[in-house]
């Protein structure tokens, strides 16, 4: 695809996304699209971390949690403005990413997966036990809507635009990274750490920065989530949540941003199929929800077996096939 054609495609996609609230007027349905954006924000970071740098994390729900609780604590308890809260949420989750980056410097593959999984479990325990900050199992309610100075974003449409504006900035930043030197360094670390060292790549710096950036994006997603829903509880930030993010990233394909982005939206919709498909029988809908985890699991298995490069890889192969035919 030519450069102009690609720019045009991105522009069209952006306009289409921006127009969603004009078409979907029901606040309930619109919120599903907002949730898709929240997941997409996390998955953009994971695409960099896993799809480009090759570092697995089974604990990213913890960063979403850190962001959400930070936002809740800053706004409800400390009465700080929302803008301050979201900056604090990004900073704290980024700092958390720094901690999680440390094991990645020594561990690889399964061992890194275990370490990040342990971090996620540890944090979900903290969310339950640190009652003073998190409200324990009951969670925290009464979180105010996001506000920019005197403007309070309380309509479903404005929240949708806010979240997707964050997604847009994240995608631009991520795209700039991947198409320049840092992106090549990430893929070099993924391809061969020996070769990366021999090329003078600072592996420690690449891993740490990518972990921090992906944690920061997850934290922002959590902070936005707190503002959108107004309530946070530990059940939103479990291992299941983390695995959902990994499923989206893997289904999307490594070495791509658009693939994981599309997968994040698709797999978010799976949770709400009953609302999105008009006339879907109640029984079928409840079945789908019961087996949601199985659908995620099956998606991962099928991708790994049939299309290891994910949606993005399948798309590239199809285009290549057409081009050479």
């Amino acid at each position: 695809m030519g450069r102009t054609l690609r720019a045009l495609a991105v522009l069209v996609a952006a306009v289409l996304v921006a127009c969603v609230p004009l078409v979907v007027t029901s606040p309930f349905y619109l919120q599903i699209y907002t949730f898709a954006g929240l997941n997409a924000l996390v998955v953009v970071g994971l695409a960099l971390l896993f799809g480009y740098a090759g570092q697995i994390s089974l604990g990213h729900a913890a960063f979403v949690g850190i962001g959400a609780y930070t936002c809740a604590y800053c706004t409800v308890t400390l009465h700080l403005p929302w803008l301050v809260a979201i900056v604090a949420a990004g900073a704290l989750s980024g700092a958390g990413g720094l901690i999680l980056a440390l094991p990645s410097l020594r561990l690889k593959g399964h061992y890194l997966a275990m370490a990040t999984l342990g971090f996620g479990q540890l944090m979900s325990l903290v969310f339950v036990e640190a009652v003073g900050v998190t409200g324990g199992v009951n969670g925290r309610g009464g979180i105010p809507f996001p506000s920019l100075g005197p403007v309070v974003l309380r309509s479903a449409a404005s929240l949708f635009w806010l979240v997707w504006a964050f997604v847009a900035v994240a995608v631009i930043v991520a795209y700039n990274l991947t198409s320049a030197r840092p992106g090549r360094a990430m893929r070099a670390v993924h391809g061969s750490e020996l070769g990366a060292q021999a090329s003078g790549v600072d592996i420690v710096s690449v891993k740490v920065r990518t972990f921090v950036l992906s944690a920061l994006l997850a934290g922002l997603s959590g902070a936005l989530y707190a503002g959108v829903v107004g309530f946070v509880s530990p059940s939103s930030f479990t291992l299941t949540t983390s695995i959902g993010f990994v499923a989206m990233t893997v289904l999307g394909g490594s070495g791509s941003l658009t693939g994981p982005l599309a997968a994040a939206v698709l797999l978010t919709f799976v949770q709400y199929l009953d609302s999105l498909i008009p006339g879907l029988p109640q029984a079928a809908a409840s079945k789908l929800q019961t087996y949601q985890q199985d659908i995620y699991g099956l998606a991962i298995v099928l991708v790994v077996v049939l299309a290891p490069r994910g949606l993005a890889g399948a798309w590239r192969r199809r285009r290549k096939g057409v081009g050479t035919a």
């Binding site: 700039n176 030197r181 840092p182 070099a188 020996l194 990366a196 021999a198 003078g200 490594s254 070495g255």
Partner: protein, 267 residues
């Protein structure tokens, strides 16, 4: 120690290897090896399988830490440094098992090598600052130049996983050159090349040397070794058994014995 002989170049010793010993458990892979590499020359390190050639490379580039000995490049100690720091000092290498980045194209692989001396980082790239974009353009141009120098520019945009084995070695060599080394260590660059391609490699190595890069090459292809090297070091079971210009090495009884598998002089 014996006075190192001089072979070609300007007679200045760039690399001094002194009494380097590396053990793995009970095995002494490199046993008190010493030699010099002179600036502007090509030196070959040869020896039967298991002689310690690759391990010697690893001790020069921070991948293996020797139990004893010292390695100086241009007066700076290499032992105890991390691999990346040896690159920044000016020592680049390739691997016996090529370590390319399979998902990247040949050109992008070489561009990663260019990063060693680039300054613009994460933030500049995120914001797509002009300085970052300029570095990218420079790296792309440099990658093209190096792949042309080595004669494989037709593979520029081919993903590394699609490259033939011999070409992979040459791309890795281009990537090593992209770090702007003073000393280039090549581990079996001719493996997987056809006879014609090996002849081309000889000329490429001479061009690299004449461009001011000193070369040390581990190689089994004796035709290439005899043709291209100014000096040869022979290792057998971790020890240096001979050193000198190709003509001398060919006639050396210890070398012949080692290659024919007879008992050499070790206890």
């Amino acid at each position: 120690m014996a006075a190192p002989s001089q072979g070609g170049g300007n007679g200045v010793s760039l690399l001094q290897i002194r009494e380097v010993t590396k053990r793995f458990g009970g095995l002494t892979a490199v046993d008190a090896v010493s030699f010099d590499v002179f600036e502007g020359t090509i030196k070959a390190v040869i020896g039967p399988n298991g002689a310690g050639k690759s391990t010697l490379f690893n001790t020069l580039t921070g991948y293996d830490r020797p139990e004893a000995g010292s390695v100086r490049c241009d007066g700076r100690e290499l032992v105890g440094r991390k691999p990346r720091d040896t690159v920044l000092i000016g020592v680049a290498r390739t691997f016996q098992n090529t370590q390319l980045f399979d998902e990247l194209t040949a050109a992008e692989n070489v561009m990663v090598g260019c990063q060693a001396h680039q300054r613009r980082g994460f933030a500049a790239a995120m914001l797509r600052l002009p300085s970052s974009a300029r570095e990218d353009r420079d790296a792309r141009a440099e990658a093209g130049r190096l792949l042309r120098l080595i004669g494989i520019e037709e593979w520029l945009d081919t993903p590394a996983f699609d490259l033939p084995a011999g070409i992979r070695r040459l791309v890795e060599m281009a990537r090593a050159l992209a770090t702007k080394p003073r000393l280039l260590l090549l581990d079996e660059p001719a493996a997987g090349l056809s006879a014609g391609e090996t002849g081309e490699l000889v000329r490429t190595l001479e061009r690299v040397r004449d461009g001011g890069v000193t070369v040390v090459v581990v190689e089994h292809d004796m035709g290439l070794v005899m043709e291209v090297s100014d000096e040869i070091v022979v290792l057998d079971r971790g020890r240096k058994i001979a050193e000198g210009p190709p003509r001398m090495i060919q006639k050396d009884p210890a070398v012949i014995a080692a290659y024919l598998g007879e008992d050499s002089d070790d206890a």
